[in-house]
């Protein structure tokens, strides 16, 4: 090929005090190429992109943009060199508006550069947002948005930059296929105009849909670059995880006895209304629905996080009085929250103690926590969820997102929770780990635990669930048995095909 | 034997400063290399710096080395304690303390006694166990100003008090002296007694508010000069200069200037430099082995424009003037 690479990495190495996150990463990307960066959690993808975008510096090696050596001292330098980045974690200021966030650092100015031109910012922000979700109002404070909407804002922000390289680190982790479709169109357009795109995602179908080339990383090393237009998905996955992943069928462990019974449950603070369902021992119940349909809110109600307005929850026939998460936890309920960074982790504390937090008293003897017991349990459980790197004393904030997720799952195993509420359990989790988590869920069911899984990924819902509850507008729209489960039926119940004209499209986004 | 808790105002075993020489003879020779340590409340107020000047002055004359230290702020009781303890540790021959509170230097008294170092309590708060006290009567400050009002404003009227920091010994005593004396005269009415916290700005604001409600006020008594100088500005701003009498306490140089300029009505000067000299003299007499009365009373005087020339100006020998005052008071 004669064109110079738009972006070329040469021997990029990054060492942290206790891990080598990247070693000798070398590959290049051409203009107009959509290049996937693939690898398990902790493989070093985000680390590489953070170096590219000037957020951190490589220990050694260099990279070139359009053949020019790049030496970025801060994100601003990278931006000037034409690099736009969507970070894996939302990088937003809660109290500022959507538009202010999108123009943060480089506001449009007026009055001779003195004042911020709010109107123009909002106009342009609206235009960028409209490409994905026109319902987002650029003048609302970002803290009022749902995670999914906030992620759309992050994407739109990157679109505003007119960059020649756009790095996207799991841009769709909270999005539904519908939004991904819009993004795919945008990416195609950008690629057509010569922009190089680096795309990181654990959703393989997305990757294969839009990416031309893919570089596979494992434990900080580049394993190789493959042409995704020709390669087989299973081969690529094998490259990533170092082994073949079997496509597994759903296993059912449903017992007869009803463990959880929810009757007429309504929220005191959100739009969840009149929800009734049951979950049996060993049953995995999936909850599907559109963004904003109230799935998360339902789980928060069950976990005692949100206040119950009316209705009843009983476990093993005993009615619960849920006043706070603690009461739910002692009733054997454990919640894997949707927004890991905000609701999940205590950043500066070690993984082991993040895991043990709700069950500390179980590890205590005469009021003193036996850290040896914590560590023993942590080693067992964190191994079971396959934490990587396996360093249980490290502050959790130093782990990759997927590994943080695993630690929170382990938290409820440690607490011995019988009823597990998983909100988007595989968000940001690599394919290998994903199948591990599926196994884990199945194992839990096999042990007789009851699991409720909220997921925006329909294949996941179908793969895991014995039964699926479809939610719409805060209410249950349908309960589908295993044999009825197809993507088609779920979607039609979620959007309410039966009564097509009652749909409020500002609240609810197109597809599941 | 245990000493009775000291009340510097009523203690029987006392001597007036002017009588020191008459009673104990000329100043004796002190041992070579005598070191005297002064521990002040704070140096942020001119009064305490002047006191230190007096220490140095007399110390130099008598051939003693003087160290003068102060806490970092007026409320820093433990800091002052640390300083005083340091002086005991480093073997000063005599220590002069002006405690922040009645109690905060108590341990030093004990430690010094063990180490056989005499301690002189100089002014302000009075440590009950103090064996030696040099200073004026705080209460008397307020009394003198109250008497001025009774003498000079025979028709009576409304008066207001700007107090120092809540709970501080000098502020409590001065206020009490003024209040009780003026309270004996039914023509006067204390319409306000509010805290100025030794702070000029707060006193200014308080005075503004008081004047607004009581434009017919006849006077202010302030627990120190800094506050009085704030109050006088408020009086000026209200256009009442000359109508409202304002008194301060301490006799700092700015107060004198203000009196000369016809603004401040008066201040109760307790002559810090002279007090310092007397205190040092007493301390060094103790070092020389003399026995001195438990309380040595130092002078104070109400300074107004009328008698200002007598106490301040070129060629005024304040010591001689006050000696004469003392003699005539006898």
């Amino acid at each position: 090929m004669t064109t110079t690479a738009r972006l070329k990495f040469e021997g990029i190495t990054k060492t942290f005090p206790s891990v080598k996150a990247l070693s000798d990463a070398t590959f290049s990307i051409k203009p107009g190429e959509v290049h996937a960066l693939l690898g398990e959690n902790g493989a070093g993808k985000s680390t590489l992109l953070r170096i590219l975008s000037g957020v951190s510096r490589q220990t050694s090696g260099e990279f070139y943009v359009d053949g020019k050596l790049a030496t970025f001292k801060n994100p601003e330098d990278a931006r000037r060199a034409g690099i736009a980045m969507i970070h894996q974690e939302l990088q937003q200021i809660p109290n500022l508006t959507v538009a202010q966030n999108m123009f943060l650092g480089h506001p449009l100015k007026t009055a001779g550069g003195l004042l911020v031109n709010r109107r123009e910012q909002e106009k342009r922000a609206a235009a960028a947002l409209a490409m994905i979700d026109p319902s987002i109002d650029p003048s609302t404070p970002i803290k009022n948005l749902k995670v999914a909407q906030r992620q759309i804002v992050e994407i739109a922000r990157a679109l505003l930059e007119n960059a020649k390289i756009v790095a996207m680190d799991e841009p769709t982790s909270s999005l539904t296929p519908a939004e991904f479709e819009s993004l795919a169109v945008i990416i195609e357009k950008m690629a057509a105009s010569g922009v190089a795109i680096i795309y990181v995602s654990h959703k393989m179908d997305e990757v294969f849909r839009i990416c031309h080339q893919g570089t596979v990383m494992r434990d900080g090393n580049v394993v190789g670059t493959v042409d995704l237009r020709t390669a087989a998905q299973s081969d690529v996955i094998a490259m990533m995880v170092g082994r073949e992943l079997m496509h597994e069928e759903h296993n059912s462990f449903v017992k007869e006895d009803v463990r959880v019974e929810v009757r007429g449950l309504s929220s005191a603070v959100t739009h969840v209304r009149d929800v009734s369902f049951t979950v049996r021992r060993g049953e995995v119940v999936g909850i599907a629905g559109l963004v904003g349909s109230g799935r998360t809110e339902l789980l928060r109600l069950l976990a005692g996080v949100d206040k119950i307005g009316s209705g009843e929850i009983s476990i093993d026939g005993r009615a619960l009085k849920l006043t706070n998460p603690r009461s739910a936890i002692s009733a054997g309920i454990g919640l894997l929250p949707e927004e890991r960074k905000r609701e999940g982790i205590i950043p500066m504390r070690p993984v082991s103690l993040n895991m043990a937090l709700p069950s500390l008293r179980k590890f205590a003897k005469v009021g003193v926590v036996r850290h040896s017991a914590v560590n023993t349990t942590a080693e067992t459980l964190l191994k079971r969820v396959n934490l990587r790197p396996f360093q249980i004393d490290r502050p959790i904030k130093l782990f990759s997102g997927g590994n943080q997720q695993k630690a929170i799952i382990a938290r409820w195993l440690a607490a011995g929770s019988e009823i597990l509420l998983f909100d988007e359990p595989t968000r940001g989790i690599d394919v290998g780990a994903k199948s591990e988590i599926y196994h884990l869920i199945e194992n839990l069911a096999a042990e007789g635990k009851s699991v409720i899984v909220v997921s925006s990924e329909l294949p996941e819902v179908i793969r895991l669930s014995d039964r699926v509850i479809v939610m719409r507008n805060g209410r249950i729209a349908a309960q589908l048995e295993r044999h009825e489960l197809t993507e088609q039926t779920i979607v039609s119940h979620a959007v309410g095909d039966a009564e097509p004209n009652t749909l409020s499209s500002t609240q609810e986004h197109t597809h599941v | 034997q245990e000493l009775a808790p000291l009340n510097s105002d009523t203690e029987k075993d006392r001597v007036d400063w002017a009588q020191l020489e008459a009673k104990y003879g000329a100043f004796p020779k002190i041992p070579e290399g005598t070191r005297a340590g002064g521990v002040s409340k704070t140096l942020t107020n001119e009064y305490w710096r002047s006191l230190g000047e007096g220490y140095e002055k007399f110390g130099k004359k008598a051939g003693a080395t003087v160290a003068y230290q102060a806490a970092q702020s007026e409320g820093d009781q433990l800091g002052q304690l640390t300083i005083a303890e340091g002086m005991v540790t480093t073997g000063f021959n005599v220590i002069l303390v002006s405690p922040q509170t009645d109690a905060n230097l108590q341990p030093v008294m004990e430690q010094a006694k063990e180490a056989n170092i005499p301690v002189v309590n100089v002014n302000d708060a009075v440590v009950p166990q103090a064996e030696h006290y040099v200073g004026n009567v705080q209460r008397d400050n307020g009394v003198r100003v109250a008497k001025w009002f009774i003498d000079n404003r025979p028709e009576g009227g409304k008066v207001a008090i700007i107090e120092g920091q809540a709970g501080v010994f000098a502020a409590v005593q001065r206020t009490a002296g003024f209040k009780s004396t003026i309270g004996e005269n039914s023509k006067f009415q204390v319409v306000a007694s509010v805290p100025g916290n030794w702070d000029r700005q707060q006193s200014y604001d308080a005075a503004t508010n008081i004047l607004q409600q009581n434009p017919d006020l006849v006077g202010f008594y302030c627990n120190n000069d800094g506050m009085a100088l704030g109050v006088i500005e408020a009086v000026k701003a209200a256009g009442l200069l000359g109508k409202v009498a304002v008194f301060g306490t301490d006799g700092i140089s700015d107060a004198y200037k203000s009196i000369e300029a016809g603004e401040l009505t008066g201040t109760v000067d307790s002559f810090p430099i002279l007090t310092g000299e007397v205190a040092m003299e007493t301390a060094l007499r103790l070092v020389a082995g003399q026995t001195v009365a438990r309380v040595v009373a130092t002078p104070q005087a109400l300074i107004t424009k009328d008698n200002l020339a007598k106490y301040k100006g070129d060629g005024v020998d304040i010591r001689a003037v006050l000696m004469k005052d003392a003699a005539s008071a006898q």
């Binding site: 957020v55 931006r79 980045m85 990088q91 943060l104 603070v269 206040k307 | 140096l43 809540a166 700005q201």
Partner: protein, 324 residues
Amino acid sequence: MSDIAAETPKRSSKLFSSFSLRDAGTLIGLIIIMAVFAALVPGFLFERNLINILQQSSINACIALGMTLVIISGGIDLSVGPTAAISAVLTAALLVTGVPVPVALLAGLGIGAFCGLVNGVLVAYVGLQPFIVTLGTLSTYRAIALIYTGGNPVLGVPQGFRSLFNGNVAGIPNSVIIVAVVAFAAWVLLKKTPIGEYLLAVGGNEEASYVAGVPIALTKITAYVISGVLAALASFILIGRLGAAEPILGNLWELDAIAAAAIGGASLMGGKGSIVGTILGAIILGAMRNGLTLMNVQAFYQLLATGLIILVAMMIDRATRGRG
């Protein structure tokens, strides 16, 4: 439990942003306090007394405006009092030696800015905690003011300077007008300019700001410099009023200013604060002092009332706007 409060977001409508709702809470607090005093103190609501209250609040308001910006940026400035003192004694000393007023003013503002700059650099570049940096400079600056003057006040500030800060225009004290102008400028800065957005951003999420290319260090330093300059300005108002500059002036100003900002809705965690709220907060504190003095409340009980009113003001505010 401010964060958990997010669990029950009571967003009513887009028209009322949380900002103005919050200010309404502060306003209600002020109105209640004014009403109580009006009932207890005859003449409390006279125009003359209201102007008094404004004038007496002006110094604290001026300091509190700077404090609000610093707090929004995620910092705190405990050194405002000593900064004011340094600036006051320097300006007064220059004026007394006959330096023209504008030059002395500039020198005073300049030294205020410099004090702020030192704070800002230590926070932003050296990376120390704001509380501890300004606790250190609190002592350091005070010591400098004391050493410079030997502990004595600087007297004899010329009338020309005094009337500039202590005069009236149509019955409104100049100090009130000055602070009103500063407040408006601060409001524009915070709501309309890039730097205001940066302040909110840095205080709201520093990492995200960094990633977005916000000049973090510059933003923080700006906040501290403004705080220093406003401390200097406040000291001018004070020496205009008192005619003298004391090296010990400004003692405990930081607490009053922080109280005003907090009552006005600033969060000491950063990222949140309101100019209007701060001004209202300063007036609440001023009205309280004024009312207590007029009622001739004894010192100990004034102290008690001060503490309780701060607590009650915060509770009223919390009650009117709900949690969060």
